[in-house]
Each structure stands twice: as structure tokens, then as C-alpha cells.
């Protein structure tokens, strides 16, 4: 929370202005009962009509002054909280932009999005409330006590009884209620995840005719949610009536003791009325302040979640200073080992190989053998744990990160596109690309044909809810996006898996023709995609089993033969 409060600094002046203006509003509010008491005790008692009217006008004036205070406060409080919210959001977003992949893994996409949206909103709201209500109620509370004591110190003793009673009641209800709210949330999450699962697996549920089973399962969770919700709501049902009862009973007490005092002449009727007014103000303020606490504790969870991200630093440090010497793609792995921060086991062990400019190096291996990890090290999504990777002879950690990545075109396993037109998406790879270059890239990626068939061709808008592209089409677009960069190194991480065989070989053909200088790293599952490679790295359990071209490997490498056989069968040989 402290870290976030720093973000309030630029808004110190507006924050102070908001608090001061709130003080004005509170003071004006506190004046009203006293003025009213004057009307009763001087005006009515003496039959002084002009005095009554004068005081009435004065009260209206006071009320109008209150408007200035109240509206002024909200004006400055809004500027402060919105500014604070926007700044924090930007800080968070920019922090995430700086993260290395292990940090993204650590937080998960959906959780980062919640932090950027809901959590920021929560914190922003709490700032607004701090500036308005959390100053208002304590001020009303204190001011009310001061006014009550100055009105009649002896009568103020009533407060000595009611405030502790109220505080204790509040404490007990909340202590019982809070854990229940936590439980309600948990059960609600369970119900939601049960329905999410059911919707996701609707085909399987239908195929296995399991709707009755699913219904029973859901119903159990649904009823569990109901039980705990009812319990929580019933406990909270105590809150308001109990508070009101305490408040009202203290008014009754004031009336009774007021009677005694009025009778002995130590107090006047108007003062008794005013006193009841102050009393309700004080107790109400106390109650609201406790409600505020509830909100603060909710916001604290959000604040902690934001701070957690802000305090996390990227593990890939961009401290390199060396500029690029050449735009060739000579890539060397030297004894590279790597393990993910949360795991103790190495994902890659002692990997060494050299990819010369223009070469195609394919990596083959089982799921989890470390193929993708190996690719992720080149653009420094993660940093090697041991050993080094050299680009044109320079350790990539010594290069400026932006320059390193500008040399790399990468097509990830999952084809992620952004909302915008098709052209926008391809140009995403290289902002300055001309129309011709975009077209050429699309053609090489075998995407031109289907793009032309779309209603608006290259100007077709794709978005989260836009045109439905098939998996293969998305993959081809993300390939075009990488190709338009004319990268020195092209990384294709199993990125044509959803493309049919004919298209895939057309792609490979086009790549061979148009990217002859580009070093290509290729992760693939189908053996025929790797057979044409200059080098094939067979990876198993994070270690290189063998390196060689197809012929060499088929002659000597067991693992390779096994894969080959499984896909090709004997007659093809």
C-alpha cells in the first residue's frame, strides 16, 4: 500500500484542497443544530420573530457555504483519484511491458488483466473515498463530540456509554461476518468454475450423455453456496437494526436526562434538541467509519496485488551496450543450460551448436523435451542459466535488447493476432513496410490466397469478435508478420501445425527461395517438415541426442529412426 501512496505525491495540493474543503462542509453541517437551538431558546422563548427569521436566513447561508465546501471537495478529490488511478495503471502496464517471460508465467495473463482493471478501479475508488468520506466521518465524529461537550459537558457523558457499546457490537458482527464473506466468495468461485467447465466440455458431456451427472454435481455446489450465503446474510442482517437501536436508545437517554437538566435550569429545550442531533451525527459517523474499514480491507487486497506486480523485476536485464555489428544470422549456442526459476530440474543441459547464416536448423523431440525453451532463449525471453548464446560472435546479453529482437522474426506456437485489419497485423512486424512488402510476406506465408477471398481483402478487420479465422489461417498470418521483418533469424515454433501438408510445403518452398540469407530455427513435429533442414537437432529430456542432416541421423540415431518410422512407415522408404 505504501508504494502506491507514493503515486499520490503529484496530487498533494489537490488532495489537501479536498480535505480542507471537506472541513468547510463539515463545519457548516455542525453549525446547523446550534443555530436551530438558538431559534428555540432565544427566538421562541422570547417571542423574538425578527431574530428567528434572521437566524433562519443565516442557516440558509451556512447551507450554501456548505455547498461550496462539498462540491469543491468532490472537484479536487476527483482530480486526485482519477489522476492517481491513471498513473498507477500506466505504471503497472509499463511494468508488465518490461517483464521477462518467467515473470509472465508467474503471474498468468488473466490475473494480470484483473489487476490492471478491477484492482486499479478498487484502489482508485478508495482514494476518492479517503478524500471525501474518510475525512468527512472522522471530522463529523470529532466535531460532533466537541459541539456536544461545549453544548453540555455533563450530558456528553452519554457518549461514554454508547460509543463503546456500538464499537463492541460492530466488532463482533464483523468478526463473525467477515470469514463468512470469504467463504461465500470461495463457493461462488466454485459454482462459476463448475459452469465454466461444463460449457467448455459441452461436446463431451453430450457425447457421454452425462447431463444428469453434471446437474447433480452442479446442484451440490449450488446448494453449498446457498447455505453459506444465507448464513452470511443473516448475520449481517443484525448490523443495521442493532446500530439503530443503540443510537435511538441514546437519544432516549438524552431526552430523559435533558428533562432533569431543563427542570433544574442547567439546560434549555433547544439545546436538548440540538444535542440529540449531534448525538446522531456522532454515532452515524462512527458507523460509517466502520463501514469504510470494510471497504479499505477490500481495497487493501487489490493494492497488495498491484504492489506485488510493481515490486517484481524482470529477470532479463537490458544492460547491454553493444550495437549490432552486422545483420547476419550467425548463431551459436555454447554449453547452454537452463532451468526455470521455480523448478530445480534443468530444462536444457549443455546445448551447443552453430547455425550459419542462411541455414535451416530443425529441432525435433518429444513434448516437454525443451524445444520451445531452446527457442525462447534466442530473443532473451529467458536468460540462459549457464553458458552463452552468441549472435555474430557477440554474447546476446551484451547486445541492446531492442536491437537483438529487431533481428529476430518469431512465430510462436499459439498464433496471437491483434484487432485491426489484416494489413495492420502483418505490418505489426515491421511498421515501415510498404504495401508491396506486406503483400510479398503474405504470399510467402501462403496467406494471400485466403486473404483475397475475405470480403474486404487486406482491409478486413479482425478482432476479438471479428472475422473468424481458422487456426491454419491465423498461423499463416502470424508467419507473414514475422516474414515482413526480413529477419536475420527466423524462429518457427511448431507454427504450421494447423496448416495442411500441401500448404506447409508451399511455405517451405517460398521460404527457401525468398529468405536465402535468413537463418531459420524450426521446431516441428512432423518429420517431413524437418527433413530438408541443413541440420536436425534431436532433443530428448533437454539434451542433444544427436545433430546431423536427415541422412546422417537416419543412419545412426535411434530416436530419430523411431520417429521416422512412426510417421513414414516402411513403404515410403
Amino acid at each position: 500500500m505504501g508504494l502506491l501512496l507514493k503515486n499520490l505525491k503529484p496530487y498533494k495540493m489537490t488532495a489537501i484542497a479536498a480535505v480542507l474543503l471537506m472541513l468547510v462542509e463539515v463545519m457548516m453541517d455542525l453549525l446547523q443544530p446550534t443555530l436551530m437551538a438558538h431559534i428555540v431558546d432565544y427566538g421562541i422563548a422570547n417571542g423574538d420573530v425578527p431574530y428567528i427569521l434572521q437566524t433562519g436566513v443565516l442557516m440558509i447561508g451556512v447551507a450554501l457555504l456548505g455547498i461550496i465546501g462539498g462540491c469543491g471537495c468532490i472537484y479536487f478529490a476527483s482530480i486526485t483519484s482519477q489522476g492517481f488511478g491513471a498513473d498507477t495503471r500506466e505504471q503497472l502496464f509499463s511494468k508488465i511491458q518490461s517483464f521477462s517471460f518467467d515473470r509472465l508465467d508467474q503471474f498468468k495473463t488473466s490475473s494480470l488483466i484483473t489487476r490492471l482493471t478491477n484492482d486499479i478501479t478498487q484502489v482508485q475508488n478508495i482514494v476518492l473515498m479517503m478524500l471525501r468520506m474518510m475525512t468527512r466521518f472522522p471530522l463529523l465524529f470529532l466535531g460532533g463530540i466537541i459541539m456536544a461537550i461545549s453544548l453540555n459537558a455533563k450530558m456528553a457523558l452519554v457518549l461514554l456509554v454508547t460509543i463503546p457499546v456500538l464499537a463492541v457490537a460492530l466488532f463482533f458482527i464483523m468478526r463473525k461476518g467477515f470469514p463468512l464473506f470469504g467463504k461465500v466468495q470461495k463457493r461462488l468461485d466454485q459454482v462459476n468454475s463448475a459452469s465454466r467447465e461444463n460449457l467448455a466440455g459441452v461436446r463431451v458431456v453430450k457425447a457421454f450423455v452425462r447431463s444428469t451427472f453434471e446437474k447433480t454435481r452442479f446442484n451440490t455446489q449450488n446448494e453449498q453456496l446457498m447455505e453459506v450465503s444465507i448464513k452470511a446474510a443473516q448475520i449481517m442482517a443484525l448490523l443495521m437494526p442493532l446500530m439503530m437501536l443503540v443510537m435511538n436508545l441514546s437519544i432516549v437517554a438524552v431526552l430523559w436526562f435533558g428533562g432533569i437538566q431543563v427542570n433544574t435550569g442547567t439546560m434549555q429545550v433547544g439545546e436538548v434538541i440540538a444535542f440529540t442531533n449531534y448525538l446522531t451525527q456522532i454515532l452515524f459517523a462512527l458507523m460509517m467509519a466502520s463501514m469504510m474499514l470494510m471497504m479499505v480491507s477490500r481495497a487493501k487486497v487489490s493494492a497488495d496485488r498491484i504492489t506485488e506486480v510493481l515490486q517484481t523485476d524482470t529477470s532479463v536485464k537490458d544492460i547491454g551496450t553493444t550495437g549490432l555489428q552486422s545483420t547476419e544470422g550467425l548463431l551459436q549456442y555454447k554449453n547452454v543450460s537452463f532451468h526455470y526459476p521455480e523448478s530445480t530440474e534443468s530444462s536444457l543441459k549443455n546445448i551447443s551448436f552453430t547455425a550459419k547464416p542462411g541455414e535451416t536448423v530443425a529441432i525435433l523431440g518429444a513434448t516437454g523435451s525443451g524445444k520451445t525453451t531452446m527457442m525462447n532463449l534466442v530473443p532473451r525471453f529467458y536468460d540462459v542459466t549457464e553458458g552463452s548464446i552468441l549472435l555474430n560472435g557477440t554474447d546476446i546479453r551484451e547486445l541492446k535488447l531492442a536491437e537483438l529482437r529487431s533481428q529476430i522474426g518469431i512465430v510462436l506456437q499459439e498464433a496471437v493476432l491483434f484487432s485491426g485489419t489484416i494489413t495492420d497485423n502483418i505490418r505489426w512486424g515491421y511498421q515501415e513496410a510498404t504495401e508491396e512488402e506486406v503483400l510479398a510476406a503474405a504470399k510467402a506465408a501462403q496467406a494471400d490466397e485466403f486473404i483475397k477471398k475475405l470480403s474486404d481483402g487486406y482491409d478486413t478487420v479482425i478482432g476479438q469478435r471479428g472475422v473468424n479465422l481458422s487456426g491454419g489461417q491465423k498461423q499463416r498470418l502470424s508467419l507473414a508478420r514475422a516474414l515482413v521483418r526480413k529477419p536475420a533469424i527466423l524462429i518457427m515454433d511448431d507454427s504450421t501445425s494447423a496448416v495442411d501438408l500441401a500448404t506447409e510445403s508451399a511455405i517451405q518452398q517460398a521460404l527457401k527461395e525468398q529468405m536465402e540469407k535468413t537463418t531459420t530455427l524450426l521446431v516441428a513435429q512432423r518429420i517431413h517438415s524437418v527433413m530438408g533442414a541443413d541440420q536436425i537437432i534431436v532433443l530428448d529430456n533437454g539434451q542433444i541426442v544427436d545433430i546431423g542432416n536427415h541422412l546422417e541421423l537416419i543412419g545412426r540415431c535411434d530416436v530419430y529412426q523411431e520417429i521416422y518410422r512412426s510417421q513414414m512407415r516402411e513403404e515410403a522408404i
Binding site: 482493471t117 462459476n192 461436446r203 439503530m244 513434448t367 527433413m531 530416436v559
Partner: protein, 628 residues
């Protein structure tokens, strides 16, 4: 529920709730299309709670009445105090004070009881609705899920139902209480002094006017804010989920720039909205204070004239507050209620969907299935004018393996969807053992067909439970046996808790291959006569696939199976290969037949062959190739 000296606090406390940024003072208006119909239907759910509801309504009336009596007795007590020393009438004072204590105690008790009862009523009702929606969703055809984003269905099942809950438990009570309190307060005031009532009410139109003016303005601003927020959220969502690509392409700076621009736009309109809407509470506060002044001055004047007593002034001060707060509250609660009704409408929309095969009256049970599957001149399109499948004819004899091959989107999956009756044919018919599947009991039909899909759907629960999903009454031994056949037993045994290992959401603690093995075990346990494998191995690497293939082969033995796959290795052994392109079967036959035809299938494979061209000639030189 009782009076409070400063009335706007309640309204203010409503801020910063769950309803997005900005005070909830002005709830963005959501219009319900047919409110009265929806309310009537909601009432249908409440009917079972009739008795409790009746008690709640009575309690609301009683507690409001008690709370209205409070100020009256305060006024009476004040009058008993007298004006000067020695004038206090302790007999009447003590009577009124006892009355006050009784009134307040009863008021507190009744308002507690009503909330207590209502908690049960609303929760039970909502649980019912939620159950009904979920049950309904189970009966809906696949078409429903295909045409709607999953998030939309989810939000109906969660948010919208939750909205109904809040409005039932809070808004309705609040609205009834407010109405009773307002009319009651006006009544009491009129009873005490019609003249002073006039003065008190003088300020009310001003309050209405101010709120209306501001509300009109803020609605526009909130709409604008909501739009900017939507844009920014969409941008952030895309930016974060595509973060890896952003980094890969070094687009961080550019993203940040775009973000800043959108963020500033939101800040600007957000600040405006917040300021303008934030004016309502202080203005209402001031209006209350002015009304307070009116009552004090006018009341004072009238007291001097001897028209009223001081006690009446004090009662009025309290009533005027009881009166103005509910008015503010009423507008707010009404908007909440509107939102809830709109939510209920969305929920009812789901309930009104046509269930699967609603028109089907008579169904024949399907007992023993041989596995003779025939498609006769089958045509199908999701929309009648856009055919997906044209004139499909195929015959699968018991135990045969049929491979469906073709480019993405050619209609392979649609064929198996028709066999499962996820969709119904437009023309022609599909028969199993000579019976039109439309005449069969759909549960029997589906039970006799097993499916292994590319998407492995496993639910949160143990591995054992997930396998048993195939046949709920299977014993532990049978589950284990199925896992062994599927080649899943070995990896399951290696897990710390074995078959009792809890799967996390999306089964993320298993690898893709392991998940697939579990689904195969599940299908084996189900022991269907007909099997569908839809790209079951496409997202798995080849070595893992070999493991799975063994499992699949066991599974396919003696069953009629339909296999959709990219990989030749899977396809080649098929008894029949059907090549489908743009919804038509263009080639059919065994692998050898089709290769000899040198048609589309040959071309598909040619890719592999050409890639091997150099190799085949070379590989003859490599004598050391072991044969598999």
C-alpha cells in the same frame, strides 16, 4: 431504518461498490425490454416463498410504522420538557420515553426479522433460478453453444443471476420501505401541522430538479466513460494476452504509447463524470440543511404565534429527514431494479431456448449395436442456404475403420457431428444398424458412440473420477484396467497420489499427451460400439503419439471407428479413406487405391513423397535402416 441526522451519508456509502468506477449514485440505466412480463415471471419463482414473503411485507409495514412513530414521541417528550426550569412534566415524559423505548425496540426487532427472512427467500429463489438455467443449458443443442460466445452464457449464469439476488434481497425491501416511509412521514406531518408540512415540502421540487439535471448530464458522461473504459480494457486484454508477441517483436514502446493515449482519454472523461455525479451528495446535503432552516424558522415563527409547540418542530426536523432520504434512495434503487430486470430477461432468454429435439415425440430404444453406419445422400448446412455437406454417402461395416481426410474446413468434423446428432441432417438420413438415428432415443444413440477429441475435456476432480466419467458405475479395478489398455496406467502410477491425484482447472497439472491418454481410458471404459477420433493426436508430438496410438489401437479393435487426422501414419491402415473437399466426398478407397488414382489424396501425400524424393533414392544407399 430510523431517522438519522445527516441524510446523505447513506447515499454516499453506496459509492465505490462493485459497479465499476464512479459513484453508484447514478446507476447507468439499463432498460428492460418487457419489464412487466419479466416481473410476472420472476414472481413465478417467488410463489413458493409466498408465505415468507407475506410475512416480510407485513414486517416491512410494521417496522416502518414503528420508525414513523419515533419522531412523534420525541416531539411529545420535548413538549414534556417545558420551556423553563421547573416546568418539566416527568409523568408524561416517562410515559413517552417508555413508549419510545418500546417503539424503537420493536422497530429494530422487526427490521432485523425482515432482513433475516428475506436473506433466505432471495437465496433460495436465486439458487433455484441458477439450477434451472444450468439444467436448461444441459438440454440445449450444440448449435446454441456454437453461435454464442462462452463468456456471454457464463455471464448470464453468474452476473445476471447475482443481480437478481441483490435486487431481491435489497432493492425490493428498500423500495417498499421507502414508499411506506415517505407516505407515512407526509401523513404524520400533515397530522401534526399542515402549514409546516407545506414549508417542509417547499424544498422537495428543488431537490428533484437538481438531481434530475445532474443525472441527465452524468448519464451521458458515464456512457462516454464506459465506452473509453471498454476500449482501454479491450486494449489491455489484447496487449497482455499477446504480451509474448509484443516482446518478440519489440513493440513495448508502441504499446505503451497507445496505452497512454487511451488511458489519458479515460482519465479525462472519468474525472468529468465523477465530478458532476459527485455533486449530488453535497447538493442534497445542502438542500436538507436548507429544509432544516425552513422548518426551524417557519416553525419558530409559528411557535411564537402559538400555532404549534416546540415538540412539533423537533418532530418535523426528524420527519423531514425520514422523508428526503428515502426519496433519494428510491431513484437509486429503482435503477438497480431495472438492471436486475434486464438481467432476469437475459436469464429467461436462455430458459426459453428450444431444447434439443424438442419436437421428437416417439423414440426407439437402441440396445445392441452392431456398428453398421450408413449415410444416405446426407446434406447439411448450419444455414439452409450455405451447404456444408453435399450428398454424402458412406457405409461403414461393423469393426471397420473409416478415415476422413481433407483440408481444414472441408466438413470432416461436421460428418461426425451429424452421426452424434449434435446437428440434424437437412436432407437424406443417417442410419445405425438400419435405423434412422432421428427415430432413436438420443441418449441411447450417444451412449453407443465414444468420442475422443482434440480438446481434452477433463474436469476438476481425481483422475479416477475422470476416467469413470466414461461409465459411472465402473469399479476401481475396471478403471485401472481401462487405464492400462490406454497406456495411461504407467504415468498415473508415477504421480504421487496415483489415481487419486486431483486435476487442477483445465487439468493443467498433466501434459497434453497425458490428458489425451486419460480421455482414451475414459472412452475405453465407456465401451462404445462406434468410435469417433477427431484429431485426437494432432497436438501431440510423434513420440507421445506412438504411445497413444497403441492405446487407440486397443480402443478401435472390434469397433466401427471414424478417424479424422492429419497424419498419414494414422490414416494408412484405414479400411476406407474418404477424401472430403468443400463438403463433398471426392475420393474414396484404401490407401493403395487412392495413391494409384493420383488424385487429391495422392497430392496430399505427394508433399511427403517429394520431400523424400531425394531421400528415397539416397535411403536405398543407407542400408542400416532398421525396419519397424
Amino acid at each position: 431504518m430510523s431517522k438519522s441526522s445527516h441524510t446523505e451519508e447513506q447515499g454516499r456509502s453506496g459509492q465505490g461498490g462493485f459497479r465499476g468506477p464512479g459513484p453508484s449514485q447514478v446507476v447507468p440505466k439499463v432498460k428492460a425490454a418487457n419489464a412487466s412480463e419479466t416481473v410476472k415471471r420472476l414472481w413465478g419463482y417467488l410463489k413458493v416463498e409466498r408465505r415468507s414473503l407475506l410475512i416480510v411485507v407485513l414486517l416491512v409495514i410494521v417496522s416502518s410504522a414503528f420508525n414513523l412513530m419515533g419522531p412523534y414521541f420525541i416531539g411529545k417528550s420535548v413538549d414534556s420538557l417545558g420551556i423553563g426550569p421547573g416546568e418539566t412534566n416527568f409523568t408524561t415524559l416517562s410515559t413517552f420515553i417508555i413508549c419510545l423505548i418500546a417503539v424503537y425496540a420493536c422497530g429494530a426487532f422487526t427490521s432485523w426479522l425482515q432482513t433475516y427472512l428475506m436473506a433466505g427467500v432471495s437465496q433460495r429463489t436465486v439458487t433455484n433460478i441458477r439450477k434451472e438455467v444450468f439444467d436448461k443449458v444441459q438440454t440445449l443443442p450444440l448449435r446454441f453453444f456454437d453461435t454464442r460466445p462462452r463468456g456471454d452464457i457464463m455471464s448470464r449464469l453468474t452476473n445476471d443471476v447475482e443481480n437478481i439476488n441483490t435486487s431481491l434481497s435489497q432493492s425490493t425491501i428498500q423500495i417498499v420501505t421507502s414508499i411506506i416511509t415517505v407516505t407515512g412521514a407526509v401523513g404524520m406531518m400533515l397530522l401534526l401541522s399542515p402549514m409546516l408540512t407545506l414549508f417542509t415540502l417547499l424544498i422537495v421540487p428543488l431537490g428533484f430538479y437538481v438531481t434530475k439535471q445532474i443525472a441527465g448530464r452524468t448519464r451521458k458522461l458515464f456512457a462516454a466513460q464506459q465506452k473509453e473504459l471498454g476500449t482501454l480494457n479491450g486494449f489491455m486484454e489484447e496487449g497482455i494476452s499477446g504480451q509474448r508477441v509484443v516482446k518478440a517483436f519489440g513493440r513495448e514502446e508502441k504499446m505503451l504509447e497507445e496505452f497512454q493515449e487511451k488511458n489519458q482519454r479515460l482519465k479525462k472523461v472519468g474525472t468529468q463524470a465523477q465530478i458532476i455525479s459527485g455533486f449530488i451528495p453535497p447538493l442534497m446535503n445542502a438542500i436538507n440543511n436548507i429544509s432544516f432552516a425552513f422548518v426551524a424558522a417557519a416553525g419558530g415563527y409559528m411557535a411564537v404565534q402559538g400555532i404549534i409547540t416546540i415538540g412539533i418542530i423537533s418532530a418535523f426536523l426528524n420527519y423531514s429527514k425520514q422523508f428526503s432520504r428515502p426519496l433519494n434512495e428510491l431513484a437509486n434503487q429503482f435503477n438497480l431494479l431495472q438492471a436486475a430486470i434486464a438481467g432476469a430477461e437475459r436469464v429467461f432468454e436462455v430458459l426459453d431456448e428450444e431444447p434439443e429435439f424438442a419436437d421428437q415425440k416417439i423414440t426407439r430404444p437402441l440396445t445392441k449395436v452392431e456398428g453398421n453406419v450408413v449415410f444416405e445422400d446426407v446434406s447439411f448446412g448450419y444455414k439452409p442456404d450455405v451447404p456444408i455437406l453435399k450428398e454424402i454417402n458412406l457405409t461403414a461395416k461393423p469393426g471397420e475403420m473409416i478415415a476422413l481426410v481433407g483440408p481444414t474446413g472441408s466438413g470432416k468434423t461436421t460428418i461426425v457431428n451429424l452421426l452424434m446428432r449434435f446437428y440434424d441432417v437437412n436432407n437424406g438420413k443417417v442410419t445405425i444398424d438400419g435405423q434412422d438415428i432421428r427415430e432413436l432415443n438420443k441418449d441411447d444413440l450417444r451412449s453407443s458412440i465414444g468420442m475422443v477429441l482434440q480438446d481434452t475435456y477433463l474436469f476438476q476432480g481425481t483422475i479416477k473420477e475422470n476416467i469413470r466419467y466414461g461409465r459411472l458405475e465402473a469399479t476401481d479395478e475396471e478403471v485401472e484396467e481401462a487405464a492400462k489398455l490406454a497406456n495411461a496406467h504407467t504415468f498415473i502410477k508415477k504421480l504421487t497420489k496415483g489415481y487419486d491425484t486431483e486435476l487442477m482447472e483445465d487439468a493443467s497439472n498433466l501434459s497434453q499427451g497425458q490428458r489425451q491418454l486419460v480421455t482414451i481410458a475414459r472412452a475405453i471404459l465407456a465401451d462404445p460400439a462406434i468410435l469417433i477420433l477427431d484429431e485426437a493426436t494432432s497436438s501431440i508430438d510423434t513420440r507421445t503419439e506412438m504411445l497413444i496410438q497403441k492405446g487407440l489401437r486397443t480402443l478401435m479393435e472390434g469397433r466401427t471407428s471414424f478417424v479424422i487426422a492429419h497424419r498419414l501414419s494414422t490414416i494408412q491402415e484405414a479400411d476406407q479413406i474418404l477424401v472430403i473437399k468443400q463438403g463433398e466426398i471426392i475420393e474414396r478407397g484404401s490407401h493403395e487405391d487412392l495413391m494409384n488414382q493420383k488424385g487429391f489424396y495422392y497430392d496430399l501425400n505427394h508433399v511427403q513423397i517429394t520431400a523424400q524424393d531425394k531421400l528415397t533414392s539416397l535411403s536405398t544407399m543407407v542400408q542400416s535402416i532398421p525396419q519397424g
